[in-house]
């Protein structure tokens, strides 16, 4: 997944071929990346057309955003108090909800992948619900459960004196709600791919279930876990619908970067575009840092 940087048209291929000649025609396959000697017999040429259109649909809007940005005012726009507060809040809440996803979703994935209990078959569809539910519906569900009038909220307020909605905790809960299925799906897939045969061998060598989990299962699924965490963090960072429904939009407390972008887009287009670019940069960094490992885990 380490694609070479784009070269000027026409120059790249001959240059690369010359380099290959200089290296001396090595017949050993390259260590990484696809083997260019393999003929793709299952790839009809016309597939390139819709594939290219699909790529353009993703890439062009990002370019459009960059083109619209007022680059001269960019530093000033993204360092405003509101922007910095929102960015800090976004990073903090996304980090905490990723941690929550790990602590709660990790065990959930292990149970889904390994338990032979019939009840597990009923659990999985529920866990996947946030993937298909509109986030704003999830936010309303959280509000009417943990809000003042909801049964969970009443218990929390009476027993602990805690009110959740419209606090930073609500932001974290909303993000965890929508992001956790991403971690569960990635990790459960990795656990199923790893299979139980290594675990069985470890058990015959005298490893208790706890030791098997720690010394065999966990190392085997680490790439999958990494990819799941990256997906969950990215999803939490971009969360909008559930957050605005459950936590509102209060500067410094619940107004994360996506909420701020939405807030200022009508009064200050340049500001909204600049903040959007910040989100794009954070997303690119996340993918660049974690992508190679994540891709290995998904394979």
């Amino acid at each position: 997944m380490t694609a070479p940087p784009p070269a000027p048209p026409g120059a790249g291929r001959p240059a690369r071929r010359a380099a290959a000649r200089r290296r001396g025609r090595s017949l050993a396959p390259p260590r990484r990346g696809p083997d260019r000697h393999v003929v793709a017999v299952g790839l009809p040429p016309w597939l390139w057309l819709p594939a290219g259109a699909g790529f353009a649909l993703i890439a062009l809007p990002v370019l459009g955003l960059v083109a619209r940005a007022d680059l001269a005012r960019l530093p000033e726009l993204v360092t405003s108090d509101a922007a910095l507060a929102a960015l800090g809040l976004s990073l903090r809440t996304a980090a905490v909800s990723t941690l929550l996803c790990l602590l709660l979703g990790g065990p959930l994935a292990a149970v889904l992948a390994r338990s032979t209990s019939p009840a597990v078959r009923l659990v999985r569809p529920v866990v996947l619900l946030p993937l298909v539910l509109p986030p704003v519906v999830g936010g309303l569900a959280l509000l009417y459960t943990l809000g003042r009038t909801g049964f969970g909220g009443r218990v929390l307020e009476l027993w602990f004196g805690v009110t959740v909605p419209f606090t930073t905790a609500a932001v974290v809960l909303a993000q965890t709600f929508v992001a956790m299925p991403f971690l569960v799906v990635a990790l459960e897939g990795a656990l199923r791919t790893a299979g139980q045969r290594y675990e069985a061998v470890a058990a015959t060598l005298g490893a208790s279930p706890g030791t098997v989990f720690r010394r065999v299962t966990l190392p085997l699924v680490l790439p999958g876990l990494g990819s799941g965490l990256v997906l969950a963090f990215a999803r939490a960072l971009g969360e909008f619908g559930a957050t605005i429904a459950f936590a509102g939009s209060l500067q410094g407390t619940t107004r994360t970067l996506p909420l701020l972008v939405y807030q200022v887009r009508e009064v200050d287009v340049d500001g909204a575009v600049a903040l959007s670019l910040v989100l794009v940069v954070v997303a690119v960094v996340v993918i660049a840092v974690a992508r190679p490992r994540a891709a290995e885990g998904l394979r």
């Binding site: 069985a200 470890a202 058990a203 060598l205 005298g206 490893a207 030791t211 190392p219």
Partner: protein, 365 residues
């Protein structure tokens, strides 16, 4: 290492019902032979505690590991049962030495002692120089040797070998077989070996159990079972021809009434179930009905030619008008003989066997 292993297992699986009992004396090797889907690996799964039998009891060295009558079920990690499967299944994130040290570490041995033990076992299986390699850097044969060292380093009371040579290429399998003979059989380890290869059973096992469709159809000392098979499967793996019927004066009577002349291995009651056994090398092949002394002559249709080293094995099928028992009979002839016969698949041939080459044994149920 006194009482050995005894087990009785009843377990329903999708394609068969396993209902078998087996026993292994301490320090001996039992080979379980059988076709695919006979329940061989299921037996190992129950012994290792990875499968829960519906009814059954497993006792090892005086310890009860499984007893459905009392609800006893010792978990796998406390059974002291080592497992070596067809695939080495070395933990990919650990070096060869760390893989072998895994068992001792689980037993609470400190890191340095465990590492020393691991290197000693690696040397024992001729893999000392591989200690610091990762599994991805090992060949199939090397990985399987390391996996054997790992299974042995746990000092198991019972060793389970699940087709340990099946995934190896023809070059590394003989070396691994010799190694298993040295560190398993000669060292006197109580072992259950699952295989479908007669050579493994002969070289490695003291006793053989033949499992077909979940039931034990034959068991006994390896040499006896393979020299005088009573089931079709044991005969096939032993490379022998087997004809079923009932004992008769001078040989065996097949279902269609043909007398297969042969020598009885022991006194047989006339009419009792019996099998006639003879090696493919004892079968002479003719293009037309032969005259002369051979007592047993049958017309066959040539179903297949299989090269086997220096000889060619001709596999027979019954022609439409001939009795069914000739189906599957094998004859070994030289390539020159095949050329002389001009035999091709579908050709009509005559198989002939001298009565002195045929031995008749009491048959399986």
């Amino acid at each position: 290492m006194t009482a050995g292993l005894s087990a009785s297992i009843v377990l329903r699986r999708p394609s068969f019902v396993l209902d078998a009992a087996l026993a292994v004396e301490a320090g001996q090797v039992l080979a379980i032979l059988g076709p695919n889907g006979a329940g061989k690996s299921t037996v190992l799964g129950v012994l290792a505690g990875l499968l829960r039998p519906e009814r059954g009891r497993v006792e090892l060295g005086g310890r009860v590991l499984t007893d459905t009558a009392t609800g006893t079920e010792v978990p796998t990690h406390r059974r002291r049962v080592g497992l070596l499967a067809q695939q080495p299944l070395l933990f990919p994130h650990l070096t060869a030495a760390a893989n072998v040290a895994f068992g001792p570490r689980c037993a609470g041995v400190d890191r340095r002692t465990a590492d020393r033990t691991a290197r000693r076992w690696l040397a024992e299986v001729d893999a000392g120089e591989l200690a610091d390699r990762r599994p991805a850097q090992l060949s199939g044969g090397q990985a399987q040797r390391v996996a054997l060292a790992r299974a042995l380093a746990g000092e198991p009371e019972l060793l389970l070998l699940d087709e340990p040579l099946a995934a190896l290429d023809v070059d590394s399998a003989p070396a691994m077989r010799a190694l298993l003979r040295r560190v398993v059989r000669d060292a006197g380890r109580t072992t259950v070996l699952v295989t479908h290869h007669v050579l493994d059973a002969l070289v490695l096992a003291d006793h053989v159990l033949v499992l077909t469709g979940g039931a034990a159809v034959e068991q006994g000392p390896a040499r006896d079972v393979l020299a005088r098979p009573r089931s079709g499967f044991a005969a096939r793996v032993a490379g022998l021809n087997l004809v079923r019927g009932t004992a008769a004066a001078g040989g065996l009577r097949t279902a269609d009434g043909t007398l297969v002349a042969g020598l009885c291995s022991e006194p047989l009651v006339e009419g009792a179930a019996a099998v006639a056994v003879f090696p493919p090398s004892a079968v002479a092949v003719f293009p037309a009905r032969p005259g002369g002394s051979p007592r047993n002559v049958a017309e066959v249709r040539l179903a297949a030619l299989e090269p086997r080293g220096d000889v060619v094995r001709l596999r027979a099928a019954a022609p439409s008008h001939a009795p069914g028992w000739v189906d599957g009979l094998a004859a070994d002839v030289t390539p020159a003989a095949v050329a002389d016969l001009g035999a091709d698949v579908g050709a009509r041939l005559w198989f002939a066997v001298k009565a002195t080459e045929v031995s008749v044994h009491p048959g399986a149920r």
